[in-house]
């Protein structure tokens, strides 16, 4: 029996085989979607760039060389140099670390928060549900960017506060999804069976409800990544996110704004990096949705 047959076995012998088979089938389905593959490659590129930044970047992201300010792109400086003579390509490469950190942290904060709130609301129903979802809906109907701006204004500029502010505006959507998913199987037989065995509510939510919400959460988080990157870059652009000399892409565009008419590359280059990475997440998210959430396939 080949590995492939083992993975595609219609009647798996173990839970591990079933899971491995599911992931294998999903992987196969993803591979058939060229845009999803492209998206996955872009994100792998982002991760690799972030991890190997010191080896990829030809220069330090903060090393100033004032005798070569604002040079156009050339074979020595692929993306030109900025107003302090720093190599823009090197800064873009190091910027991948900041972007990756922001999206990872926002996902780590917002997704579990929304997941727990939504799962609890959906599982218990009644007034718990009404209260939690009322709260969620109020947050959901606020303009996200404006809310993030106001939070950062209150908390003070800086990358940590930017991450917190974005996470605060991101969780309600996840709570809605988790609740909707939970309600579909709340009264199903297997949940009743686990209850009969005597499992606590916390155990049921943690071990049975949450895992079943995972696939739609993954799809939604991936699709949201582009928005998170844009918001973070926007905060950086307004001077409220990452502070100089951090090579954050939005902040770099902000610095280049003054030179946009004559030295266009200073502001333009980091923008291409933002577009590439956001597009990667969009492509992958679209592909993941087609695979994981077929009833939503082809929609919004």
């Amino acid at each position: 029996m080949s590995a492939r047959d083992w993975l595609l076995d219609e009647s798996p012998n173990s839970r591990m085989q079933a899971n491995a088979g599911r992931f294998y089938r999903m992987g196969l389905a993803l591979l058939r979607n060229p845009l999803a593959v492209l998206g996955a490659l872009i994100i792998l590129l982002l991760i690799a760039t972030a991890v190997f930044a010191p080896w990829i970047a030809p220069e330090s992201p903060v090393g100033q060389m004032l005798d070569r300010r604002l040079l156009p792109p050339s074979s020595a400086n692929w993306m030109g140099t900025d107003e302090l003579g720093r190599d823009i390509f090197s800064r873009v490469v190091y910027g991948a670390r900041i972007t990756l950190m922001i999206v990872a942290l926002v996902a780590i904060i917002a997704a579990p928060l929304g997941l727990i709130i939504g799962a609890v609301a959906g599982y218990f129903g009644g007034w718990v549900d009404k209260l939690l979802m009322g709260f969620t809906d109020i947050f959901l109907s606020m303009p996200k960017l404006i809310l993030a701006l106001a939070f950062v204004a209150a908390l003070g500029p800086g990358i940590e506060n930017a991450i917190i502010a974005i996470a605060i505006t991101a969780w309600p959507a996840y709570a809605r999804i988790a609740r909707a998913e939970t309600i579909t199987f709340r009264s199903s037989e297997f949940i009743s069976a686990v209850k009969l065995v005597g499992a606590s509510d916390a155990r049921i939510i943690g071990l049975h409800v949450v895992p079943l919400c995972m696939s739609s959460m993954i799809v939604r988080v991936t699709l949201d990544m582009a928005g998170i990157i844009l918001t973070a870059a926007g905060l950086g652009f307004l001077g409220l996110g990452a502070q100089p000399p951090l090579p954050e892409w939005g902040a770099m565009i902000s610095r280049g704004r003054v030179f946009i008419l004559d030295q266009w590359w200073v502001a333009t280059m980091p923008g291409f990096a933002i577009i590439l990475v956001s597009l990667g997440f969009c492509f992958l998210g679209d592909g993941l949705r087609d695979v994981l959430d077929p009833k939503q396939a082809g929609k919004s």
Partner: protein, 347 residues
């Protein structure tokens, strides 16, 4: 069922929907106020210290704290905050030294004008693109529109604004640069509506109109691109839903032309959900204008907000947040209700 205004039941149902609508909108506004109130309290800047200065004695400090009402329980402070806002009192801006409410009334029309032109562009191009993509599902045309729409989710608005300025203003000279109108024309026409295009038409001053239009077209087009992306994507998915329906086959069986199948049979049922999408998108544009206005030095509410942010002018920040939030919520909930009132099928 559509609301039937001819019958007594229909009118009763309309009032039921209306009451529910007023209730949720009131609750959401209260939530918005709670958030801005909360943000105002977590500011690390001590509001009392900001007034009395750091050389005040403890007695002076305490007296001012009582005078400002900050010694009362939080809930009472919140109630008086809500009372102030309801009466239109948003406090005074420290950077402009005017009432925030007055400032907002002055800058809002500029944003409204830009967002309105933006949504017209977004709807005018986005809907036909979405319909075309769905009608040719899987074709290269469809893929192209899909990628264009995804770009709308991936391109930073402020970056596109900068690149647009560099290209269409600096290099090609097709449009005018930042600002709402050339300084030369500033204040030439009386502000009647605050919408410069409308005011210049009212004044019959075509020179100002042309100038204002050449300033407006680029930021509005960029804003329109983002709503186009969203609208085209939603239109496409609605249309795909429709084109798979049995009554589309019925129409084809009747020998109806393909154009009519798409634009009458498939498109008619999605008009109502599209209203919601367009409403959401319009509200989103008010938000998106923050970045665009900053880039284009557009004297609207977004620019006002970012200037206030950089000056840590909290009254102005919270006032602008409140107004944008309120308009955002208002448009959202209204399109929700419109959907329920207009949908000829079920509610």
């Amino acid at each position: 069922m559509p609301i039937d205004f001819r019958s007594r039941d229909g009118i009763l149902r309309f009032f039921r929907v209306l009451t529910g609508f007023v209730l949720t909108i009131a609750l959401t506004f209260l939530g918005l106020l709670a958030i801005t109130f909360f943000i105002g309290r977590v500011v690390p800047i001590d509001p009392v210290l900001a007034v009395v200065g750091d050389r005040a004695t403890q007695e002076q400090y305490d007296a001012m704290k009582i005078a400002m009402g900050l010694d009362r329980p939080l809930i009472l402070q919140f109630v008086s905050y809500v009372g102030d806002v309801v009466q239109g009192d948003l406090g005074r801006s420290v950077s402009t030294n005017r009432l925030v409410a007055e400032d907002l009334a002055r800058v809002f029309p500029a944003t409204l004008e830009m967002a309105t032109i933006g949504i017209i562009i977004g709807v005018g191009l986005g809907v036909p693109m979405g319909v075309t993509a769905a009608a040719h599902q899987g074709s290269w045309l469809d893929q192209g529109i899909r990628v264009l729409a995804l770009l709308g989710y991936s391109v930073p608005a402020f970056w596109l604004g900068l690149v647009g300025l560099a290209l269409f203003y600096a290099s090609l000279g097709w449009v005018s640069g930042p600002g709402r109108v050339d300084i030369f024309y500033d204040g030439v026409v009386d502000p009647v509506t605050g919408l410069l295009l409308v005011d210049s038409i009212l004044a019959g001053d075509w020179e100002v109109f042309r100038n204002a239009l050449s300033h407006l077209v680029l930021p509005a087009a960029i804003l329109g691109f983002f709503s186009l992306a969203y609208i085209a994507r939603m239109t496409r998915s609605f249309m795909l839903d429709q084109l798979g329906q049995e009554y589309i086959t019925t129409a084809r069986v009747k020998g109806v032309s393909e154009w009519r199948v798409i634009w009458v049979h498939a498109f008619a049922p999605i008009r109502v959900p599209l209203i919601t999408v367009i409403g959401l998108s319009y509200a989103g544009l008010l938000e998106g204008s923050v970045m665009i206005e900053t880039v284009f030095s557009w004297p609207g509410i977004g620019n006002y907000l970012t200037v206030a942010l950089l000056n840590a002018d909290m009254n102005a920040v919270l006032g602008a947040t409140l107004i944008i939030g309120a308009v955002f919520i208002g448009i959202n909930k209204t399109s929700d209700v419109l959907y329920r009132v207009l949908d000829p099928r079920s509610t």
